[in-house]
Structures are given as structure tokens and as C-alpha cells.
């Protein structure tokens, strides 16, 4: 494990208009570890992921990702982050294979990598169908392929198991789960499942850190209290 943290936030704030989505958030995630972020809808989880992905600029504080200060050196982290968002980030009229090949070309990955991932996620049979015809579960599997296509060291996963049945969850687990060995930031509404895969737990409420501790020290009840 690297000594340098993969993620370091110091007093980070972000607002939309007059409303603060994140306020004075400080958290450090060592390389290879998993930070699971809990919190009710609107607590700031997705904003946090977009800040870490360099898609949003902080309005206060310092963001360092993979050793690079954002947004000043955002170009240096592009291509080293895999973002699995609520939206699949895929073109609906293109097939899964066309979408993945497009992203493979942007990330300078060989076409063989696309075929490997389609095989591993058992999408080969539907790979040439437009993604608008796929079920939400299949769409999520394609989105997972897009997320890890370029083998990023940092994964930002917004409720990654949404829409997936247990068999599909088992399929993607080696790719984006703990065993992938990558640094991960995962948002979750499942206190038990979330804490089980976390090294660190962060609970957000109204954009503030209401809970931040090693996962082993956090009680499920404390996470559930965030939603009350």
C-alpha cells in the first residue's frame, strides 16, 4: 500500500446558488482503501463524487486526488478515475460494444479490452443491441465496463449495485468490489452492506460530515440515525 493518500480533502465546501451542498468537509483516504459514504438524498454524496472526479470545482478548501491538487492539475487525473454515476454515461442509440469501443479509443485501450469485459460481464449476447433497449440491470453492467475499461486506480461509485440482481452483483464484484484492489469511494444506502465493504465510513447530513470513522468502529445504528 502506498504511503501517500489517494484522496485528501481539507475543509472542502461546495454550493449550488445559495444552497450549500458540502460544507467544511475534511477526509483522507489511503491508497487501496474504501470510503463508503452514507446519507439521505440531497446530503451531498453525488456532489462529493463529482468534486473528486474533477467535474465540479470546490468553492472552498483543498482537494487532492491521486497526489494532484484539483482543479489546478485536473488534467493530470483525467484517465485515472473511473466514475460510475446514477446516469450510465452511455449513448442510447449506440450498442454496448460501440459505446465501449468509443471510450476505449478515448482512453487508448485496445479493442480486445472491450471484448474481455463484455465476456466477463456476460454481455456478449446483447453487445450489439442499442443500449436504449437494455434493461436497467444490463445497462448497469455496461456502465461498469465503461468505468473500469481504462483500469483506473481510483473508482467513484454512486450506488453501484442499484438495479442489479444477486447474480449480476457477483459478476461485477471482482471488477469494482474490494477485491479489485483499487481505491474506492462508494455511496450507499445500505448500512450493513456498506459497512461490510468499507475501511472508512463517512455519514453526510446537509452537506456536513455527521459521521467519520474507521468502519470497524461504526455501529449500524449510527448509520441508520443519519436517515431519521
Amino acid at each position: 500500500m502506498d504511503a501517500a493518500p489517494a484522496i485528501e480533502l481539507r475543509g472542502v465546501s461546495r454550493r449550488y446558488g445559495e444552497r450549500w451542498a458540502l460544507r467544511d468537509l475534511s477526509v483522507t483516504v489511503p491508497s487501496g482503501q474504501t470510503l463508503v459514504v452514507f446519507g439521505p438524498n440531497g446530503a451531498g454524496k453525488s456532489t462529493l463524487l463529482r468534486l473528486l472526479a474533477s467535474l465540479l470545482r470546490p468553492h472552498g478548501g483543498e482537494v487532492t486526488v491521486l497526489g494532484e491538487s484539483l482543479p489546478r492539475r485536473e488534467w493530470a487525473v483525467r484517465g485515472r478515475i473511473g466514475l460510475l454515476a446514477h446516469d450510465a454515461l452511455l449513448y442510447r442509440d449506440l450498442s454496448a460494444r460501440e459505446n465501449l469501443r468509443f471510450h476505449a479509443r478515448l482512453h487508448k485501450q485496445p479493442a480486445a479490452r472491450v471484448e474481455e469485459l463484455l465476456e466477463r460481464t456476460r454481455l456478449t449476447g446483447r453487445a450489439d443491441d442499442p443500449v436504449r433497449t437494455l434493461s436497467k440491470g444490463l445497462l448497469q453492467r455496461v456502465a461498469v465496463c465503461r468505468t473500469i475499461l481504462h483500469d483506473p486506480p481510483l473508482l467513484l461509485l454512486d450506488e453501484p449495485r442499484a438495479n442489479l440482481d444477486p447474480a449480476a452483483t457477483a459478476l461485477i464484484e471482482p471488477l469494482i468490489g474490494r477485491e479489485s484492489g483499487r481505491t474506492r469511494v462508494v455511496t450507499s444506502h445500505d448500512p450493513v452492506g456498506g459497512l461490510a465493504e468499507a475501511d472508512l465510513a463517512l455519514g453526510l447530513r446537509d452537506g456536513r460530515a455527521a459521521l467519520l470513522a474507521p468502519a470497524g468502529e461504526v455501529d449500524v445504528v449510527a448509520v441508520e440515525a443519519l436517515y431519521r
Binding site: G79, I81, A88
Partner: protein, 231 residues
């Protein structure tokens, strides 16, 4: 902030190829622009109460129609990126964002060229008095420069508008005033070409103005496009 990607052309081709594939798979922009152009010529035919136009009037009708048809394409230029959040995935790729601008401008240029392949003959049949054949070479050069202006300004304005809620308003409100100088130069270039017994080649002065306009907006877009994509 501009990336250190040394070769923006390779990702430009990748992005352009994707845009063309999307338009081929689900044709939207080009058919709408073609239909709009032909409908507008028919409306001018009845609205002006004339069977034929020539000279500056012909140039005005042709160019304003192309300009308004372009607005339809400009409004839809980034829609595929926005619809499913594909924009974010492209922004996370290790590419110079100039590639995104270039690909969109090139796509719009190609769409406009396709539209004109149908619209200009339709204009000649429905409205134009003099035969355009003698001045065809000059007309092609003027339209290529006009397409360049529309593509550069269009890609710039579309990127500005895509993150706003009133995209359909922003594009014409910002784009049309910016395009006035190009429209003036294009109209002055075209008028003699579409006149009875007119010139077969546009005046060099107006071609130079159009070329300069393209150059200035190309450089301006290169300088500011990155900043337009910031949140």
C-alpha cells in the same frame, strides 16, 4: 485548464466518428435542417409573391435560410452528450478538450454541407431566377466559408448553452448577433453570383472578410472553450 495532451486530432476523429454514427443511427439534425430549408423557400416563394428572385434578394433569402437552419443543428449539437450524461464521461477522458470543440465544429460543418447539397438545388428550382451554374465554383467557396463561420460560432455557443436551462433561447440570442458580420460578408459575396449576368467569382475583399472572421472565431474558440466547460 488546458490539458497536456499533445495530439488533439486523434481524439477529435474519435469524437467526430461517434457524432456521425449517432446521426446515421438516429437521424435528427440533418433531416430537420433540410426540411426547414425547403419549407422556408416555399414560404418565401409565397410570402414575397414572386416566382423568381436574384441578386442581393436571392443571396439574402438563401443565406438567412441556411443561418436559421443552422440554429436547429446548433441547438442539438451537444444533446447526445447531455441526454445520458455522456458529457461527463468524455470530460473524464485524458484528452484535450479542444478535441471536443473541433469534433463538434467539424460535425456541424459536415451537416451544413449535406443540407446545402439539397437546399441549394431546391432554392435554384423554387426561387432563383438566373442559373447558378456559371458561378457554382464561387458559390461553393462562399458557402464553405459561411459553414466554417456557422460551425465555429455554433460549437462555441452550443457549449455555452448546453449547461443552461434555456438552451433553445441562448443559441439564437447569442449566436445570431455574433454571426451578423459573417452574414453581411457572405451576402455581399453571394449577391453578384446570383444576379442576372453577374460575376462568376465573389469579390476578394468579402472572401477575405469571411476568412478573417473564421480565423478570429477559431482562435477565440480555442482560447475559451475549456472555460465554457467548467461548472
Amino acid at each position: 485548464m488546458r490539458s497536456r495532451e499533445p495530439r488533439p486530432m486523434r481524439p477529435t476523429w474519435v469524437l467526430l466518428r461517434k457524432d456521425l454514427l449517432l446521426e446515421r443511427r438516429a437521424p435528427e439534425s440533418v433531416p430537420a435542417m433540410v426540411l426547414f430549408s425547403i419549407t422556408t423557400f416555399v414560404l418565401f416563394h409565397f410570402g414575397l409573391g414572386r416566382d423568381e428572385v436574384e441578386g442581393s434578394l436571392a443571396a439574402g433569402v438563401l443565406l438567412v435560410t441556411i443561418l436559421f437552419a443552422a440554429i436547429l443543428g446548433i441547438n442539438r449539437l451537444f444533446v447526445s452528450e447531455q441526454a445520458e450524461g455522456g458529457f461527463d464521461a468524455v470530460l473524464l477522458a485524458p484528452i484535450d478538450r479542444t478535441a471536443l470543440f473541433l469534433s463538434k465544429a467539424m460535425a456541424l460543418f459536415l451537416f451544413l454541407t449535406l443540407v446545402e447539397l439539397v437546399a441549394v438545388p431546391a432554392f435554384a428550382i423554387l426561387l432563383l431566377g438566373p442559373s447558378p451554374w456559371d458561378a457554382l465554383g464561387g458559390l461553393v467557396v462562399v458557402l464553405a466559408l459561411v459553414n466554417g463561420a456557422l460551425a465555429l460560432v455554433g460549437a462555441l455557443v452550443s457549449a455555452l448553452a448546453i449547461r443552461t436551462r434555456s438552451r433553445d433561447l441562448i443559441v439564437p440570442m447569442i449566436g445570431l448577433p455574433l454571426l451578423v458580420p459573417a452574414l453581411i460578408a457572405a451576402s455581399r459575396s453571394c449577391a453578384p453570383l446570383l444576379a442576372e449576368g453577374g460575376a462568376s467569382w465573389p469579390a476578394a475583399k468579402w472572401l477575405a472578410v469571411l476568412a478573417l472572421y473564421d480565423l478570429v472565431f477559431g482562435l477565440l474558440a480555442y482560447a475559451v472553450f475549456d472555460f465554457l466547460l467548467e461548472d
